[in-house]
Structures are given as structure tokens and as C-alpha cells.
Amino acid sequence: MEFVLQNFINAMQWGSFYALIALGYSMVYSILMLFNFTHGDIFMTGAYIGFGAATVLLFLTASVGISVPGWLLLILTILISMMLTSLLGIIVERVGYRPLRDAPRASAAITGLMIGIILETGNLAVLGARRFSFPSLIETVTYNIGGVYFTNKKILIVGVSLFLMLLLHAFIRKSRWGMAMRAMSYDYQVVPLMGVSLNMIAPMTFAIGSALAAAAGILYGMAYPVLDPYMGVLLGWKSFVAAILGGRGSILGAALAGFLLGFIEIFTAMIFPSTLRDLIAYTIILLILTFRPYGFFGQPYTTQLRL
């Protein structure tokens, strides 16, 4: 029982990375009907920007000689990284996606992939092959409740992810911009005629998605403190799987499927040898999609696709 609970906490943590990244895929999809294949590498860049921001902040506070509590530094780091990474998201939209809005959908996927490769290689070229380790901004405290061990970081990671998801939900449901996004996802060809500019909404969507990915990157850096230019590749593709599994363009579905993927992966590793993890996880996904071809919350294709 303790073992299951222990893994439940691990799965929540692992799933929250997937969910946060999958949200970015899903949001962009709901607006443009395109997948942002740079997203995994935006996640990576977010983690690196967070690393840079944390290092600079630590250096500044140390050189000035004031002691700032760790949680404040963490919040600052997350905010800085989210802001800068959302700028990157806007650039990606402008360079890679806006010129290809009417092109076949696969072409935009290719530009996305290629911008991702440029980000990876650029990172490698600028920072070299050194592995950086994410500074530990807050002390790790381990709790033990009835034989289940968990750290304050795990709680923090799950808490911050859930908080960001709720924030996104509130933004989409309650604000005027959110309303514009929902309208745009309903019909991106007619809504621009109503005075909502697609050239405003699309960058905004990319920015929000990238900000979430950046937050995921920092949380990931807290849990697994070794940064690597290719850390976003596999995580990105797997989150893409989660985004589709949730139903294309469904925000709630993406979050749920992200957690589900985390649970599948952690629990298969718990029951079976860990080398079988991918095999079993993807077989389950293949079966789900075979019997439920449009994901959890997706709608079947009714309109003519643009390819």
C-alpha cells in the first residue's frame, strides 16, 4: 500500500511535466490546427533560461550581501523564465508558423521541428557540451507519513503545476482574451472578420504555451537537476502524444492525458522491469487510440482537413 502511494506521488510529479507541456501543444492546436513541434525545445530553453536567471539572482544577492528567502528567488526565477520564454514562443510563431498558415500542415510541422533542432544546436554551440546542474533554490525537506516518503519539492511541483493549470483555465473561461481565443478555436477563418485579429491571438497562444513549458522546465530542473540540450526531445514528443490522447485541441483533455501518461509510465515501471516501460506505455496508447480514435475529448473530423 505504501509502495502504491509512494508511486502515486511520483506519478503525479511526472505527470505534471507532461500535462504542462501538453497544454502548450493543445492550445496552439485549438487555434491554428497546427502542432508546435518546437515545443519540447522551448521547454528545454525555458529550463536553461531559468538556470541562467537563478544563477544571476543568486550571484546578485550574494554580492549585495542580503539574504533573500529561497522561495522568493524561485518565484522570481519562474517569472523571469516564463516571460523570456514566451518571447521565444512569439518569435517561433512569427518565423516558423505565420508564413505557413495556409501551407499544408505537414510543412509547418517540419519548420517547427527544424527550429527545435536549431535551438538544440544553438544551445550546444553557445554553452558547449558541459552539463549544468540546476541550483537548488530551496532546501529539500523529506516528510514521512505512514511509511510514505515525499519531499517538499514534489509537493511544490505538483502544487505549482495545478495552480498554473487552474490559472490557465480561469484565463480562458473568464477573461476577454480567453473569450477571443475560444472564439478563434471555434472558427479561425470567420472570427477575424469580427474584429479579433488572428495575428494577435496566435502569438498570444504561443506565448502562453511557452510560458507554461518554461515553468515545467524549471520544475523539471528542480526534480532532476542536470540540464541537457536534448532534454526536451523525448519529453516533448511524449507530451505531444498526451496532447493527442486528450483529444485534439482539448485543454482539459491534454492536462488529464498528461497525468494519465505519467501514471501509466510510473506504474508499469513499478510492476514490470523498467526496460519494458516504453513498450507497455505505448502499447496501451496504441490500444486506446485504436478503440477511441479521437482521444478522450476530441471530436471526429467533420470538416475537410487542410492537407
Partner: protein, 420 residues
Amino acid sequence: MTERLKEIYGSVPVIGWLIGMLVAVVTESAFGAGLAYALYLPKVPALLGLTVVLKQPSMFPAAILYVFLIYALPIFFAAGLTAPWANRMAAAMEALPLWLSAILHLGVLYLVLHLWTDMSDYRLQISKLTMIAVMLTLSINVINGYMGEFSCSHPGFMALGAYASSTFSLVLFRQDRLFGAPILPEFLGPYMFPLGLLLGGVAASLGALVVAIPSFRTRGDYLAIISLAFMFIVKSVFENLEVLGGPRGMGGQPHWATLPAVFIGMAVCIVVINNFVNSTMGKALNAVRDNETAAEAMTVNTRRTKMTAFMFGAFWAGVAGGLYAHELRYVNPSSFGIQSLAEILAMVYFGGLNSVVGSVVGALSIQMLSEALRPLELFKWIIIPLLLILVMIFRPTGLIAFRELNVKRTLGPRVRKSGG
């Protein structure tokens, strides 16, 4: 002046260019080494001098001169000079059956390639890998271009083919740490190699059923995920199969992927795929891509079409995988991952969808570029993606997309006798 040049070179048929290339490679094998020495080049430039130039920019004039003297001058000289004669030859070959004429052209091309790759082992390996890449690109074009699905499973198909044919040759013909003593004498091996490749292809097309059957009910992004999941599953299966070496992979395949073997493989692949996409089934593929419901109404059996296309594309990916395994003589599961997927996708979308010529051009240019830019190390992976982004922005379907290859007209003479 330009008018005159246009007149001369516009009338050179394919066979004329091939003769020009033949003259160039003969020139190179005769004078290449001496000229390189005279121009203070470290050795005969392997890939048209690009690598040398990027390594030592001071060699630029020498490399240009070399390429001009050895390649450009003989090719244009010979092609221009022999144009009337080549046209007569092309006309004579046009009278022959098409397959014979195609084989003659391919024979000359092989001769060129053979002489060119004879100069260095590096060229030989690059050429073989490029031809394998051509096969891969063509086979993914059947699914992604002609049928219009975004399939990500090609590395998986390739892995199935590579492992199946490697197992075939290791079990039957080689003393090996995984399978022990050979069953058949080794001298039979090269003759049985096509059978091994066939086996690889069949294994891959059976694997393709896993992707094809869900495709009856779903399209587009969901199919992309199914194919992606398939790729992860195949990779994971091979990582867990200790019988086949597990994550350490499988090595020591006999060196059967010689230049003629790979060349024949590629030639057969191009011919078969070109015929396939021009057949009724190929047109049905296009119909399914453009509008599935309408295609169904026009008596296209969409299920059978999709299944055939997937299995057919996967078959050639499997054959290419088998050749790849016997060329590198080592395979492990991690060579069939996301990285290889990105490369294959780059080649097919660069060259152009729905076009045999486009696939050949795409595979050729991406492979050559990635070899030529090797001295730039990391920056290679900035330049190639940038190039691809530009191609996508200005020609969203690739360089040479949606063009049919009419072999008869391509190989025919450029100047017809009046009244002829």
C-alpha cells in the same frame, strides 16, 4: 552568347550528360591525383572540394580550379561536343523497349558511380548511404506524399527490416556470439542476400499492419500518434529482446552491401515505386488523400488502398534497413529513434511530396550537404535546418513537388529530326 549556349545544352539528352560525367570521372582517375598535387591540395577532393574549402578556406581557389578542370570542363565539353551524336543514340534507344533503354542508361550511370567511388573509400560509403537514403525517402513519400498521412513510423519499419535481414544472414552464414555456428556455407551468402532483404521487407510490411489497421478509422494527427507510438514500441521491443543483442545491438553482419548490390536495390526501388504511383492504385492513393469520402464514392476501396500503401512503403523501408545494416555492419535500437525520423522527414519534405524526382533530389541534397558541411561540426545542424525552413516558407510542398516522372520522355532525344 547565352542564346548559343542554351541552344547547345538544351539539346543534350540524358545519355549525353551521362557520357559527359563518364568523361569527367575518367579524367579524374587519370589526372586527379597529379592535378591535386600540382595545386597543393592535400589530396584528391572527395566531395567536389566542398569539404576542403570549409576546412582550409585558403584552398578555395585551388579547389575551384580543380572542380572546374576535372568536372565542369569535361562534362560540358563532352556533353556539348557529343550532343548530335548522343541525340542519335537516344533516338536509337527510344526504338528499343523501354526497359532495355532504362537498363542501358542505368548501366552507364553505374559505370560513372563505380569509377567515381573507386577513388576513395569515403566516397564509396557516402554513395552507398545516399542510395539507401534515396530508397527510404521514396518509400516514405508513398505514405506521406502520395497518401498524405503524416506517418512517423519509418524508423520502426527500417529497424524491423534491418534486424530481420541481419538475423537471416547471421543465423545462416556467420559464426556469431548471438546465434553460434552457421547453418549454411558462407560462399552461398551473397547469392541469398536478396532473400534476406526480401525477408526484411516482409517483416517491415507485417509491422506496418499495426499502423494500417487503425488508419481505417482515423486520419491525420491521430494516425501520426499511432505511428509515433509504433516507432517507440519497435525500438523498445528490440531493446528488450536479449536474443537480438538487446540495447547493445547486433554486429558483425557480412559485408554484402556492395556498391552493385545497393545500386541494384535503389534502381529496382525507384522503378517499382514509380510504376506503383502511376498505376491505378497510385491514383487511388491520391484520391484517398484529397477526399476520402469522394474516393469511396468513386469505387475506390479505401481500406485496401491504405493497407497496400502502408505495407508497400514499409516494405521498401525494410529493404533499405537491411541494406543499411549490412553496410554499417552494426545495428542497435537507438539508431532508429527520433533523430533518424527527423532526418528522413527532412529529406522527403525538402525534396518534394508526391514526386519521385523530388525524393531523389531531397535525399541526395540533404545527404551530400550533411557530408559536405561536416567540417563545420555543430553549425551544420544550424545551416541545414535554416535551409529547410526557407524551402518550407517559399515552397511549402518541397523543391520538386507534384511532378510525374515520365521515363520515356526523360530519356528520349532532345532534338527530333524534322518530320520525325
